[in-house]
């Protein structure tokens, strides 16, 4: 589904990601872990194609097609979607209107999905204006439910979410990556950034990657990586040069 080869990325004139290699197969969900500032957000924003993220070397392939230089909306239309960690507020734009646009003009789905994410009362509100942490996450997941990406990237979906909402968001995310379907019929893939690993209570991830100082230091079983972080912190990863 997604293949990243020798990717180097500059942000504001500084190289943040160095020689990233990653492959995520169809139907697979991977998690990306790493200390603050290691470059996790940079990686998914580069995959989405944001303008401040300059690829200086390497390439990104999606379904075999080189998307490294495509504009954002074309990547979105090919099936890549992401949940923003800190989405902007858009004054005057009603969430309901954005949802209709994201759904490809299916207003009937908007009402139904909004209700399922407890967002029915937000449709007439300006996008993200005064939303709490949990409301932002619910709104982001709702947008993705309507957008129906084939490859979905989530930036710390559990951060800032209270216990009540985490189950709602966790199970909605599991659906986004088709964890509710038999493995044989699963075609959607995902890349989830997580600090805490709480999201793994709601879905099984197929692989984990540890990002440190802009490099992927190890790949492995996500729960095992998490167990190491939990017992020893990130220190071991920071010192580890093996890969």
């Amino acid at each position: 589904m997604l293949t990243i080869e020798n990717l180097h990325v500059d942000v504001a004139g500084k190289e943040v990601l160095h020689d990233i290699n990653l492959h995520i197969g169809e139907g697979e969900t991977h998690v990306l872990m790493g200390p603050n500032g290691s470059g996790k957000t940079t990686l998914i924003r580069t995959i989405m194609g944001f303008s401040n993220y300059t690829v200086t070397k390497g390439r990104i392939l999606y379904r075999g097609r080189d998307i490294t230089n495509l504009p954002i909306h074309e990547r979105a239309r090919y099936g890549i979607g992401m949940m923003f960690q800190r989405p902007p507020t858009i004054a005057g734009l009603k969430l309901g209107k954005l949802l209709i646009a994201a759904s490809g003009n299916k207003p009937e789905l908007v009402a139904e999905y909004a209700a399922s994410m407890h967002m029915a009362d937000f449709l007439e509100r300006d996008v993200n204006a005064g939303f709490s942490g949990g409301e932002i996450k619910r709104s982001e997941v709702l947008q993705l439910m309507l957008q129906q990406p084939e490859f979905v990237m989530l930036d710390e979906p559990e951060s800032g979410v209270d216990l009540e909402n985490i189950a709602l968001i966790g199970s909605a995310i599991a659906k986004l990556v088709e964890k509710d379907r038999h493995i044989v019929h699963r075609h959607k893939s995902g890349l989830i950034i997580t600090h805490t690993g709480y999201i793994l209570d709601y879905l099984e991830a197929d692989a984990g990657h540890m990002l440190c100082d802009g490099e992927i230091r190890c790949h492995g079983n996500p729960r095992e990586i998490l167990a190491v972080i939990k017992s020893k912190g990130y220190r071991e990863c920071i010192e580890c040069k093996k890969i």
């Binding site: 909306h73 979105a76 979607g81 858009i90 005057g92 209107k97």
Partner: protein, 370 residues
């Protein structure tokens, strides 16, 4: 099909479209009455709402001896060249609306000032809402598609009585070589509300106005909204002023300005002259193409018990907002248009739905060009 109102038969199809964009309905389906002035000729005056009367001003002055006290009372004849010109006319043009005590119109009244041939169209309007009355008015000001050059001078005096309410929504649809000089003032008595909306989305040479509302009675409220776009060649010098002259009065001035190469001077002034008063100015400008947006919000407090604030921002569309929408599949143009539409989308509390729809339609029509 509903027939068009009398006096408007001669208006050409191209101009009908322009009048529709200025919020006017020639069939008056959603209006309780209409006033149409073409150049200096008043072609139609009607009002079907009980308790609400509309007259050409000359007739009102003849009919009611007391009307003289209302004319040139809020706007001085000697204010400037524009008012002197209007005051010097032998036969005044324009309209008078009297909303009698306790009356209320559900469907708005419409007033059309249409400029076709004369070099200067002049009007003097007086709008009176007596105690407890509620009056909704939409004014469409437009020039003909064939009018190259011309000017509009308009004096308007609003009297909002005790516990009365006037909402006035003015939509402009002029041409590239038209000069427009409205001179308006309002006086609001105890418990009254004055709500004034101004929408201008199309080219004009020069508009200059600075209406003032004097909140003279306890608890009076004024709110001004203006939503304007200045294409290259347009010079819009716009302002609103509110004087908080009585206790517990409250004012809000909200403006959204876009330049596509033209100039917008967005003035506003709230003067807190009495205890227990509040005022807020919100002034936002978006520069789509190099032009000028000059925001001049002024708040002037004169006593300890007044609370005044303002927020002003001028800039371009934030890149992260565009890219957020692109990540949802909108291309750059769609994303930009969506954000601009949001920027202009001001919900106006207390405005009848039919008028909010009219404002939305005027903005939607302009959206094609973004």
């Amino acid at each position: 099909m509903q027939k068009d109102i009398s006096g408007t038969e001669g208006i050409r199809p191209e101009d009908r479209a322009r009048l529709a964009e200025a919020g006017l309905e020639l069939d008056a389906l959603n209006r309780c009455g209409s006033f149409f002035q073409i150049d200096q000729k008043i072609v139609h005056t009607s009002c079907m709402e009980e308790g609400i009367e509309m007259y050409p001003i000359a007739e009102a002055l003849r009919r009611f001896s007391w009307m003289g006290e209302y004319a040139w009372n809020l706007v001085s004849r000697d204010k400037d060249d524009i008012t002197r010109y209007v005051a010097a006319q032998e036969e005044p043009k324009g309209y008078v609306i009297i909303a009698r005590k306790g009356s209320r119109n559900v469907m708005p009244l419409q007033a059309c000032l249409f400029l076709e041939h004369v070099p200067i169209q002049h009007v003097h309007n007086i709008i009176i809402a007596e105690e407890g009355a509620e009056l909704h008015l939409i004014t469409g000001c437009a020039s003909s598609h064939r009018t190259d050059i011309g000017a509009h001078y308009g004096v308007t005096e609003f009297y909002v009585g005790k516990n009365a309410r006037i909402t006035t929504t003015m939509i402009h649809k002029w041409g590239e070589q038209i000069d427009v000089f409205p001179r308006s003032a309002a006086r609001v008595e105890e418990g009254g509300t004055f709500l004034s909306n101004y929408i201008a989305m199309s080219p004009v040479k020069h508009v200059q106005m600075y209406p003032v509302a004097d909140l003279a009675g306890r608890g009076a409220v004024a709110r001004f909204h203006s939503i304007v776009v200045a294409p290259a060649g347009s010079h819009l010098d716009l302002g609103s002023r509110v004087l908080l002259s009585a206790p517990e009065t409250n004012a809000e001035i909200i403006s959204r300005s876009i330049t596509r190469g033209g100039t917008v001077i967005a003035r506003s002034h709230i003067r807190g002259g009495t205890e227990e008063t509040r005022g807020h100015i919100e002034c936002k400008g978006l520069i789509l193409e190099d032009g000028i947006i000059h925001a001049i919000p002024e708040i002037e407090g004169r006593v300890t018990g007044t609370e005044l604030s303002h927020e002003a921002a001028v800039g371009k569309i934030a890149r992260d907002e565009i890219e957020y929408l692109m990540a949802r599949g909108l291309d750059e143009e769609e994303a930009t248009a969506t954000i601009i539409r949001g920027f202009l989308d001001v919900r106006i509390a207390g405005l009848p739905a039919v008028l909010q729809k009219q404002i939305d339609a005027a903005i939607d029509a302009a959206e094609q060009g973004f």
